[in-house]
């Protein structure tokens, strides 16, 4: 998808290309703007991308085994069917871990939208974590859209749509996501369970200086509880990202269970050194606390803000030194 235009004067390139001036000097000369048309990238240069990388999951605070983990390999593939049209698949195989035995079943009074995670860990090996078709589109120069359907994530299948307003030179972005999903079988293959839900959020994103991004979501979660999530993250120039979030919904604290409300932290660590060739971008290890059922969101593929934030002028400035590489 064509995200933005950048106009560079040849004289500026010649002046700065071999100079010792800071790379930001040439970026200051570039005129960034939203594409005036809705053209999509017609050059499908890599119709198939793949990656093989490790994954690591853990669950904490189980009284019978406070630290449980699962380490394995995941194979991801992405077929590009046409401009903005993708099929994504992900298969996982556990190698080492302690998810093989469910020590405690969930006693949550809410629909078990996430708290049965240990059962998925026990029964889903190997697992088809994702098999989904996604269409990305651009309606206006700064309005993007996504429609995904299939096995969207490890626990849910369904349909997910999203729109994002994000001008290239704006620090602010606004998104709207709406999904209708059905819970997948514990073996994480093709079957589905009975539970269905409608979930969606109105989201505001703000990109502060130094890679700090704040995201505020308001909407309905997987257990069809309603509330707000505040998420703060910071990405460094080398690709490392860390962040934290907290969610308050209309589920009373005593009904939510231990912890009172959903909260956690994550790290994303680029693992491109683990592959001898360029494959699917951004392999990473993610540490998430998963457990309770209140305030849980769908992990839809191709979230638009995550795609767009690295293609906008602020993101380019953060890695200014790479301009000449």
């Amino acid at each position: 998808m064509v995200v933005f235009s950048a106009k560079i004067e040849r004289a500026d390139l010649e002046r700065y290309a071999l100079s010792a001036d800071p790379s930001r000097a040439i970026l200051d000369k570039i005129e960034f703007s939203d594409r005036k048309d809705r053209l999509e990238d017609q050059s499908v240069t890599k119709p198939f991308l793949w990656s093989l990388s490790p994954y690591f999951e853990y669950s904490l605070f189980d009284p019978l085994d406070p630290i449980r983990y699962d380490l394995g390999a995941k194979l991801k593939g992405e077929f590009t069917l046409g401009p903005g049209l993708y099929i994504d698949g992900e298969i996982r195989k556990s190698i080492l871990g302690s998810f093989g035995e469910v020590l405690r079943t969930s006693d949550s009074v809410l629909p078990h939208v996430r708290s049965d995670h240990p059962i998925y860990g026990r029964d889903g090996d190997p697992s088809l974590d994702q098999l989904a078709v996604t269409k990305l589109a651009k309606f206006t120069p700064d309005l993007y859209a996504r429609l995904s359907t299939g096995y969207l994530e490890k626990m849910y299948a369904g349909v997910s749509g999203e729109m994002l307003w994000k001008p290239v030179n704006s620090r602010l972005g606004v998104g709207l996501e709406l999904s209708r999903v059905q819970q997948r079988d514990f073996d994480i293959r093709l079957g589905l369970q009975d539970y269905q839900a409608t979930t969606g959020h109105l989201s505001a994103y703000y990109d502060f200086e130094n890679g700090l991004v704040a995201q505020l979501d308001a909407g309905q979660y997987l257990a069809e509880d309603r509330g707000y999530t505040l998420r703060l993250s910071r990405q460094f120039g080398n690709g490392w990202e860390m962040g934290t979030w907290a969610t308050i919904t209309n589920v009373p604290f005593e009904k939510f269970g231990e912890g009172s409300f959903d909260k956690g932290f994550f790290f994303r660590i680029p693992l491109d050194w683990s592959s001898a060739q360029l494959t699917k971008t951004e392999p990473h290890i993610e540490f998430n606390v998963m457990g309770k059922d209140g305030g849980q969101k769908l992990n839809a593929p191709y979230r638009l803000y995550n795609l767009m934030r690295f293609s906008h002028s602020e993101a380019i400035y953060k890695e200014a030194g790479r301009f000449w590489k």
Binding site: A20, W324, K325
Partner: protein, 223 residues
């Protein structure tokens, strides 16, 4: 995992090393009809031992010999076959050095690349120093790409002076040159560059500081 990374790195280095030698052989073989692979399993390659003056005289394509003095890297590199902002010396496997009138301004494909350098003051000083009896003072800057994809710019205070006539011999041919010494320093680094400059201003031979990792690079203008 550590051992896997080590193995991967070792294989990568091995593959890189083989391709470098192979490519260099191909270039020189087509240019000078040489067989650079020695007998046995060793891939030792030293252009000083394999290239002769007769071969050089038979060619008109600009060629430099480049040697990184703190490593075993040595190569003969031809000028890039495309127009560029400066003189680009490009190896078959994509490494390059860029010079402006013989002064190193950039590298690509090496570890710790020099992304750019201000050389205008040095070039002016090189022109004047051959006739000036007084040292010439100026500042220079080097730009590198460092962690988090940010710039690191090193600025040094330099002094250029003449050390007098100093003929150099390159592949059995002597050139009359003047040796110009450039001493540069700041609070963190100190180095001395040497330029052997012909009367017409051509830098026939030089030893130039690349940065704190590769340090000194020897560049000889062979053709």
């Amino acid at each position: 995992m550590k051992s896997l990374r080590f193995l991967s790195a070792f294989l990568l280095i091995l593959i890189s090393a083989c391709s470098e030698i192979s490519n260099s052989s191909t270039v020189l073989k087509s240019k000078f009809s040489l067989d650079l692979r020695k007998s046995g399993s060793s891939f030792e390659y030293n252009p000083r031992k394999t290239i002769t003056r007769e071969m050089i005289n038979a060619s008109t394509t600009p060629l430099v010999l480049v040697e990184i003095l703190n490593s075993d890297y040595i190569a003969t590199i031809q000028s890039a076959p495309f127009p560029a902002l400066a003189d680009v010396w490009l190896t078959k496997n994509g490494k390059s050095l860029t010079t402006k009138d013989g002064v190193l301004v950039a590298t690509r494909g090496f570890n710790y690349d020099l992304m750019g350098a201000d050389v205008a003051a040095l070039k002016a000083a090189l022109t004047n120093a051959q006739t000036s009896k007084q040292p010439i003072f100026y500042d220079r800057s080097y730009r590198y790409l460092v962690k988090d994809n940010q710039d690191e710019i090193i600025t040094v205070n330099c002094e250029l002076s003449s050390a007098g006539k100093s003929p150099v011999k390159i592949f059995d041919k002597s050139y009359a040159t003047t040796l110009l010494l450039e001493t540069c320093q700041n609070k963190a680094v100190q180095f001395e560059n040497k330029f052997w400059v012909q009367k017409n201003g051509l830098i026939r031979k030089s030893m130039q500081w690349h940065g704190i990792n590769l340090e000194m690079i020897l560049i000889e203008r062979v053709i």
